[in-house]
């Protein structure tokens, strides 16, 4: 919950740039509105061409003050039209929807220098990891100002915490990100993560294989997993964590009608208390759920 009632706002496009093949970074400015964002939330984009009536849900990649950055891939008519929108044009966009990642659970679970938070993402699951990494980094370093870029050099970190007892030292944030071929947003992740490990299906860059295969090469597994990406990947990461009894949060995707909880179009099955299975709305109750509570059909 953001504490804000959701709204739809006219927003000005500040930038809409191609950052990789068919991948665009859209920067928006909410008109006269300050908006609170939790990492893992998404916004609805309402297209100008009214023959495409449904909103397009896109995850928040980065946010600050009245700014919002989204990264999307052109996959169909809507995103293709979107890629043609020029800076200066207006677009209708919702305030952030859904519940994001439970940051306080991560922070309270993972304490100490030898601890590791793993952000596992594949493809278009990578964009929301930026805001997530930024928020986590600020939380564990106790920063109030979330616009500041933390110092990523490992030396200064160990230097600063050397004399503290282990539990007072900061955990490490490691991103494990997978792409089919072309890598994007790596530098942005490096601003906030201690380490960024890349896997590509094609082997063009980094580890040749997928995120889960790369994760399994770790000598020491992470202490907390946060994931976003294709369902099969989320399922595999969840199963890995379940086996090792590690906490995991995953961000699900589903075809949506309204995006705000009115149409019941976007259900998923969630095991509550490891017992009864309940139908939950991805848009309203999610998109982030505990990986061990998701019922992975098919």
């Amino acid at each position: 919950m953001t504490g804000f009632e959701p709204r739809i706002l006219e927003s000005k496009i500040l930038g809409n740039d191609c950052i990789a093949r068919e991948i665009y970074r859209l920067t928006l400015k909410y008109d006269n509105a300050e908006v609170k964002i939790k990492p893992g939330q998404f916004v609805n984009l309402y297209l100008n061409d009214k023959s495409m009536i449904l909103p397009r849900p896109v995850s928040v990649c980065e946010a600050g003050n009245d700014r919002l950055t989204l990264v999307y891939r052109v996959v169909g008519k809507g995103t293709e039209a979107l890629s043609g929108y020029a800076p200066g044009e207006m677009i209708r966009v919702s305030t952030p929807l859904g519940n994001g990642y439970d940051i306080s659970d991560v922070v309270s679970t993972v304490k100490g220098a030898s601890k590791k938070i793993v952000l596992a993402a594949g493809g278009l699951g990578v964009p929301p990891m930026i805001e997530l990494a930024k928020t986590l980094r600020n939380e564990i370093e106790g920063r109030a100002d979330n616009s500041a870029t933390p110092d990523t050099s490992a030396a200064s970190n160990t230097g600063a915490t050397a004399s503290l007892p282990d539990t007072d030292k900061k955990p490490e944030i490691v991103a494990v990100v997978g792409f089919q071929d072309e890598v994007f947003l790596k530098e942005e992740l490096e601003r906030f993560c201690h380490r960024v490990l890349v896997a590509t299906d094609s082997g063009i860059s980094g580890f040749h294989g997928n995120v889960v295969e790369l994760m399994k090469t770790f000598e020491q597994p992470g202490d907390y997993y946060l994931a976003c990406g294709p369902k099969l990947m989320l399922k595999a990461v969840s199963e890995y964590c379940l086996e090792k009894n590690l906490p995991i949060q995953v961000s699900l995707e589903e075809r949506m009608g309204c995006g705000y909880g009115a149409c019941v179009g976007c259900t998923c099955k969630i095991k509550e208390d490891h017992e009864s299975v309940k139908l939950k709305k991805v848009c309203k109750d999610g998109p982030v759920f505990r990986g061990n509570e998701v019922v992975w059909d098919d």
Binding site: S51, L54, G257, G261, A262, C263, V264, L279
Partner: protein, 318 residues
Amino acid sequence: MISLGKNQKVVNSGNSDSDLDLRVTIAGVTLDNPVTTASGTFSARESGAFYDINELGAVITKGVSLEPWDGNPTPRIAEAYGGMLNAVGLQNPGVDAFIRDELPYLKGFDTKVIVNVAGKTKDEYCRAVEKLCETDADMLEINISCPNIKEGGISFGADTSMAAEITRAVKKISKKPIIMKLTPNVTDIAEIARAVEAEGADGISLINTLLGMKIDIYQKKPVLWNRMGGLSGPVVKPVAVRMVYQVRRAVKIPVIGLGGIMTGEDAVEFFMAGADVISIGTAALVDPEAPVRIKRELIHFMKNNGYRSLQEIKDALL
């Protein structure tokens, strides 16, 4: 903006124009204005986050059935040109949970509550209706687009005698006014309308969704898990207007018109075709504030074009 609970009823702001009469009485129940929400596209807490529910003439709830229904697996939603397909499959928590958890909340608003009822057999409809008759719901809307599992899954509403039979059975036990919600997937809508009127229906609402399908030609499979789904939104509006027009001329009972209403002008079109009340469905998914915006636009249209009452619009068609 904020939804108001009990004891916080506000004066209906839309009717403050004393020269405009938006009130409408159907089946003995007076609505402050003719704008209602279409079944399955409104959820009190979620929709109420965007607008003041007290502004609505009535809310029509999502379909409730005797037992809880899980609905269909996903994908349940697909887009069509100027519309959408849904195969939610009437997921709902069942009538008991609805009466316990949702109805009291809805009754806290200064609006009428019309409960939409779904069923798989005649008996299921009747038992859900019986339970709802013991509540303070204002009216019941019977969705007869549901498949009849005893008759090979054909929709009750697609067959004149089955539509009549359900109406008769429900009317026999109901203490509340009964609106029959008709499916457009029929050859002769007027015949079905006459049949349900003859069995005592207090009103008719139409249209429900048109059966449709979308195929992903690259994946070579239907987009919806259920393969087929209900088409709604602006793309269906001409069909809906035509059917409201035909039904208006076939029966005397009140008509709730819906299907693709996106603007106040669309609403006017339905009134001219003969609707007494209108419902906003898909528009509210696309623009959460649509019901109150459309009400505003309707008032604006009436003022600009010299109409003082809904009756004048209804009488205007040449």
